[in-house]
Symmetry: C2
Subunit: 369 residues, 2 copies
C-alpha cells in the first residue's frame, strides 16, 4: 500500500495512537519494532488540542513528530461510544464532549474537513455504528444511511482536493479516503453495502461494524462473505480487530489492514501475547522464573528481562511494566504480520495459519521446543 | 570512583530506581543518556520481591538486568518516612510494612545482611534519620547512636566479607560500604561525626540528614564545613539532594556523588529543568510553541518534539508525557555533571559555577542566545 508518507507492506497491523501517542511506547520504539503506519483518533484530536491548531502547526505528522504514514478514523465510533447525550439524524451525529460537555456536530462533511486539517495519509468516511444485536430492518436502514453519508463524504473530499473549500486548510494534498462497508451480521446487507460503496469510488475500502459483540464465527463468516466483494487490487481494512488469532483468521480470508487497542490495553493489565499463547505476568508461578516472556521474541523486553522481574514491576505498579509489556505485545503483532507476509510470498500461507493457530493453543507453559 | 561493576566518573548524579526501576524510563534510556550508576531502595526491595528471592536469582544486577554499578541505601530513610507504627531503640528500627502491615526490624546488622544479599556495589550503613528541626542535645544523642550503629554495621560487613556468616548469601564479594555523617545543622556535631565515622573506617563517606527542611543556605554551610573533614581521596556523597543549583553549589564545596528523586518526580508533574531555568509544560503559552524544551539539549525529547506536543501529551495525561519529561530531566542532570567534570579538568570550575547559576536564573522564556 503506497501513501503520501511512504509505502506499507501488507498485511499490516496499525498501532493505535488515540491522542497522537501510542500508550506506553515512543515513536522511536514503534519505528524500531517495524510499525509502518499509525492510527490516530479524529474525535480525540478534534476536541484536544484541536484540528485547527494542528493544521496551523503544519499537520499531524509535524505536530506529533511521526514521519511515516498515518490513518485517521472518522471520529464516528468514539462519538457513538464515548460522547455524552449524542443524537443521530440524517445530517450527522450531535453530541457533547466527554471532556467539558461542550456541544458539537459531526457530519460526513465536517468529519472530512477535520481529517483534511489533520493531514493524515488515509481518511475514513463517517459511518453509522449500529449497536449489536440489531434486527435486519434496522441494519438495512443504518447501512443505507451510511451509503448516503459515503456519497456526501466523497463529494466533500473531492471538493477539498480541488481547492473548492477555501476556509479549510488541507494539510496533506496526497490524502486518500477509504469507504466503509456496514450491514451488521447479515451477509446480503454486507454484499449490498460493499457493491454500492465500491460504486461511490474510494481509494480503498474497510469493513466496519464487526468485533462489536457478535460470536467470533459470525465475524469470520461475514469477513469471508464481504472481502471477495471488495476490489482485489486495493487494501481491505478490517476495523477494530483483534486478537492474534483474529488477525491470522482474517488474513486467511483476504484482509490486509488491521487496527486495535488490544495489544497495548491488555499489556497495561499484565497480559502478554506469545507464540505459545497468553501469559498473565502477575501469576505467582512466574515469581522466580528466569525465562523471557517469549523465547522466540526479538523485542527489548524479551532480550533483556526475566518473567520474575516483569512480574515484580507489574506487582509494584512501575511505569516500566506498562512500557515493557506494551513494547512486547506490539512487537509480537508486528512480527506476526511479517511472518504472514513471508508465508504468503512463499505460497505457504495455509500451512502457516494452521501452525500459528495450533501454537497459540499450546499454552505458554508447555515445554519449549 | 571504581566499583565491582566498573568505574564512575565524578561528580556524578545517581538516578533513583526505587523498586529496581527508574520511573518512566528504561535501563536502555539510562545507559544512552550516560547514567553510570543507579540507586535502589533497600526498604522497598526487602519488602517486595524480597532480598532472599533476589539473592537466589543471582543478585540485584542480574535480577533487574542492569550491568553497571548500583548503590543501595540502608532502608533507614524509608522506614522513618514510610513505614507504619515505627519505633526506634538502641537495637534498631522496628516497623510495620506499608504494603501489608507485617512486622519487621531493621538493625545495623540486618541492613548490612539485606544489602549483602542484594549484592549492590555500594552498601550504606543504617543511620538514624532525625526530624528537622532538632535541638542540639537531641542531635548529639542521635549522632552518637548513629556512630555506635556504624561500628556494628562495619563489624557485620567485615564478618560477611570474611565468610563468617554462612546463612547469608553474599551476592557481590566486591561490595563496598559507605559511612554516613550526621549531626543536623550543628557544624561542631557534623565535624565530630565526620572525625569518628572516618575513624571507624569505610571505603567512603556520605553526608546524611540534609535537605530535610532546613534553609538552603544552612545546608550549603553545613556541606562547606563537613566536606573538608572527609578524606580527599575518597568520593563524598551528599544524600538526597537536589535541584540543579544545589548540585552545582555542592560540587563547588567538594561533593562528588548525588542522588535525588526530584528530576523524575517533577517530570511526572510537568516540570522540565533547562539551561535557562524551569519550564512548566502545562502553561497555556506553550500550546503553539514549536521550540523544544531546551534548544541546548541533546536528549530524544528535545531533538524530536515541540513544547506544543509535549503540552498536549501532558494535558491528555498520556504515559508518553511522563516518559519524555523524565528522559529530558535525567539527561539534563547527566549533562550538568559532565559539564562540571570538564570544567574542573580545565581548571575553570569557579567560572562554570557562576555562569550556570546565572543561566538558571535567566528564565526559559528569555531570548535565545
Amino acid at each position: 500500500m503506497t501513501t503520501a508518507h511512504g509505502a506499507v507492506e501488507t498485511p499490516a497491523f496499525m498501532p493505535v495512537g488515540t491522542q497522537g501517542a501510542v500508550k506506553g511506547v515512543t515513536h522511536r520504539d514503534l519505528e524500531s519494532l517495524g510499525a509502518e503506519i499509525l492510527l490516530t483518533n479524529t474525535y480525540h484530536l478534534y476536541l484536544r488540542p484541536g484540528d485547527d491548531l494542528i493544521a496551523r502547526r503544519g499537520g499531524l505528522h509535524r505536530f506529533i513528530g511521526w514521519t511515516r504514514p498515518i490513518l485517521t478514523d472518522s471520529g464516528g465510533y468514539q462519538v457513538f461510544s464515548l460522547a455524552a447525550r449524542r443524537t443521530i439524524d440524517e445530517q450527522g451525529a450531535h453530541f457533547r464532549s466527554h471532556l467539558d460537555g461542550s456541544a458539537h456536530s459531526l457530519t460526513p462533511e465536517t468529519a472530512t474537513d477535520i481529517q483534511a486539517r489533520l493531514g493524515s495519509d488515509i481518511a475514513m468516511v463517517l459511518d453509522e455504528c449500529l449497536a449489536h444485536p440489531a434486527d435486519a430492518a434496522a441494519a438495512r436502514h443504518s447501512m443505507q444511511r451510511t451509503l448516503r453519508w459515503a456519497c456526501r463524504a466523497r463529494d466533500r473530499f473531492l471538493a477539498l482536493r480541488d481547492g473548492l473549500v477555501p476556509d479549510v486548510i488541507v494539510s496533506n494534498p496526497g490524502q486518500a479516503q477509504f469507504g466503509i462497508v456496514q450491514g451488521s451480521v447479515f451477509p446480503e446487507l454486507r454484499e449490498e453495502s460493499a457493491r454500492h460503496t465500491v460504486d461511490v469510488g474510494f481509494e480503498a475500502y474497510a469493513i466496519g461494524g464487526l468485533s462489536v459483540g457478535e460470536p467470533i464465527d459470525v465475524m469470520y463468516d461475514i469477513v469471508s462473505r464481504t472481502a471477495p466483494c471488495l476490489p482485489a487490487d486495493r487494501p481491505r481494512y478490517l476495523m477494530g480487530t483483534g486478537t492474534p488469532a483474529d488477525l491470522v483468521e482474517a488474513v486467511a480470508r483476504g484482509i490486509d489492514l488491521f487496527d486495535c487497542v488490544l495489544p497495548t490495553r491488555v499489556a497495561r493489565n499484565g497480559l502478554l501475547f506469545t507464540r505459545r499463547g497468553r501469559l498473565q505476568i502477575k501469576a505467582a508461578r512466574y515469581a522466580r522464573d528466569p525465562r523471557p516472556p517469549d523465547d522466540g521474541c526479538r523485542c527489548y523486553t524479551c532480550r533483556t528481562f526475566s518473567r520474575a522481574y516483569l512480574r515484580h514491576l507489574f506487582a509494584a505498579q512501575e511505569l516500566l511494566a506498562y512500557r515493557l509489556n506494551s513494547l512486547h505485545n506490539l512487537t509480537f503483532y508486528a512480527d506476526l504480520m511479517a511472518d504472514l507476509r513471508a508465508a504468503i510470498e512463499r505460497g505457504e500461507s495455509r500451512a502457516f495459519v494452521e501452525n500459528a493457530l495450533a501454537s497459540f493453543r499450546e499454552g505458554v507453559d508447555a515445554p519449549s521446543y
